[in-house]
């Protein structure tokens, strides 16, 4: 079981992911944009085990939030959820230590396996 910070600007996707993750026994906190992610991480006690961030969100994207957090020394593993099938470029954000990409629609068994590996 992991403490997961989950961010997506779509309420439906948040509900889906939260439901599936909680059914797996994880504890889930949600955020609707990058700023909420940064705020939630700063306020978290104990810290989250893993971040599951949507790459594109209005105002502040998951990538921007992660850049800010990494600059603050936050080393939590992160999976980026992306609507792109090629799952990002890999080398594009090499400095952000992204553990992996999850493409939509979500392959849940694979996602659960990745979370288990990283926490």
């Amino acid at each position: 079981m992991a403490r997961i910070l989950l961010a997506d600007d779509s309420e439906t996707i948040l509900l889906l992911l939260r439901t599936r993750l909680e059914m797996e026994g994880h504890e889930v906190e949600t955020a609707a944009d990058g700023q909420q992610v940064v705020d939630a991480v700063r306020a978290a006690a104990p810290p989250h085990d893993i971040f599951l961030l949507d790459a594109m969100m209005p105002r502040k994207s998951g990538i921007d939030a992660l850049r800010e957090l990494r600059a603050e020394g936050v080393e939590t593993p992160v999976l980026i959820v992306s609507a792109h099938t090629d799952g990002g470029n890999g080398d594009e954000h090499a400095d952000l230590e992204i553990a992996g990409y999850v493409s939509k629609p979500i392959d849940f068994p694979r996602l659960f396996a990745r979370i288990a590996e990283l926490t």
Binding site: S10, T12, L16, L17, T19, A83, H84, K104, P105, I106
Partner: protein, 383 residues
């Protein structure tokens, strides 16, 4: 012209002088007839006759000069005309040669081809018309390129935007099926139909996205040294359940000691799964499908063969084109998108390989993928 005017003046002078001379001779003859100074009158008559002779000599000489002058003028005029004509031709030839050359470049696809406008007004007009036409062609080509880019952008954006709602539909349908025991059989079946159709939509979306990427030159691969055998085994393992479900056999034969290939594993797996899915869906229940991996040093070849209905020759020629599929009846039954083979071809070619199909209607088909092997020094020692 001055020569002629002077000649006309000389002619006038000659006539006046001749008339005065006749007048003088008549007066002398009258004096002779009246017997006044007959010797002087005779001398005057002769003198006037000589004077007229001198005038005639003079005028004929002047006439000859003028005629020569006029003739020379004519010749000069003709020569000038001839020179002018030659100049005209050469001043037309250069612009025409330029036009021919520029037309050739334009036809060859160089839309920047233009001619310099100059020379005679006619060739200048022609040159200007040519440049206008070339400019128009270039403008339209630019518009077409822009439309192509807009289309590519549209497909990329649309498939991206459709992905989120599809994620929800698929995700919640899966969620319902996770609690299948709470659904009655009819409800469970309904949810399965939703899920099947959603997966088909996702497959179609992925294929369209790949094609749009391919068109936009954005379909790329990240090749790494790969064991082809392991990749094929993985694809066969993934597909095994579908073959079992239709009572079809799926045999795998791998030559030992194959060289490695440079492959984007996900993309090459996509190609293999596509070929196997086609065999699975287009062959009847109980059919036999075989996958064979061989190497000849330079290439690794992956053959997917079946003993299904085969592909008619006229379809076989177009089988790697978009939306080229079996006949309408088959298409209804088979759930494919008609894009799989076109994408597979693009992907294999991105790997520097080739893909081909052979078929004998009634006996079966073989799809053959050839991929270049990585030149390996230690392998060279072995062989």
């Amino acid at each position: 012209m001055i020569g002629v005017a002077r000649f006309l003046q000389q002619r006038q002078d000659f006539e006046n002088a001749t008339a005065r001379s006749y007048q003088s001779e008549i007066e002398a003859r009258n004096r002779l007839a009246r017997g006044e100074h007959p010797a002087a009158a005779r001398t005057a008559i002769v003198s006037q006759q000589r004077r007229r002779q001198a005038l005639r000599d003079e005028i004929s000489s002047q006439t000859r000069d003028t005629a020569l002058l006029v003739g020379a003028g004519l010749i000069a005029g003709l020569t000038g005309a001839a020179l002018l004509f030659t100049g005209l031709i050469s001043s037309m030839r250069r612009p025409l040669e330029d036009l021919v050359e520029a037309s050739g470049r334009l036809a060859g696809g160089d839309l920047d081809a233009r001619v310099s406008v100059g020379g005679l007004s006619e060739t200048a007009t022609l040159g200007a018309a040519f440049n206008e036409m070339a400019g128009e062609l270039q403008r339209r080509a630019g518009e077409r390129d822009q439309l192509d880019r807009m289309k590519d952008e549209f497909v990329l954006t649309a498939s991206h935007e459709l992905r989120s709602p599809l994620t929800s539909v698929q995700g919640f349908a899966e969620l319902l099926l996770l609690e299948r025991e709470k659904l009655d059989p009819k409800q469970a079946e309904t949810v399965e139909v939703i899920l099947d159709n959603t997966r088909h939509l996702v497959r179609l979306l992925n294929d369209l996205l790949d094609l749009a990427r391919s068109d936009a030159g954005r379909l790329t691969i990240k090749p790494v040294p790969t064991d082809a055998a392991a990749l094929v085994e993985d694809a066969v393992r993934t597909m095994r359940a579908q073959f079992d479900a239709r009572g079809q056999s799926l045999a795998l034969e791998i030559e030992p000691g194959l060289p490695r290939i440079a492959a984007d594993r996900d993309r090459l797996r996509q190609v293999l799964v596509n070929l196997l899915t086609n065999a699975n869906e287009y062959c009847p229940e109980g059919a036999g499908v075989g996958v064979k991996v061989t190497g000849d040093g330079a290439d690794v070849e992956i053959d997917v063969s079946d003993d299904g209905p085969g592909i008619p020759e006229e379809q076989l020629a177009h089988i790697f084109e978009r939306f080229s599929r079996g006949d309408a009846g088959e298409t209804q039954r088979v759930g494919g998108t008609g894009l799989g083979l076109a994408i597979s071809k693009s992907l294999v070619e991105l790997h520097g390989g080739t893909i081909g199909a052979e078929s004998t209607p009634g006996e079966g088909s073989t799809f053959r993928v050839r991929l270049p092997a990585i030149a390996s020094p230690d392998r060279a020692e072995v062989t």
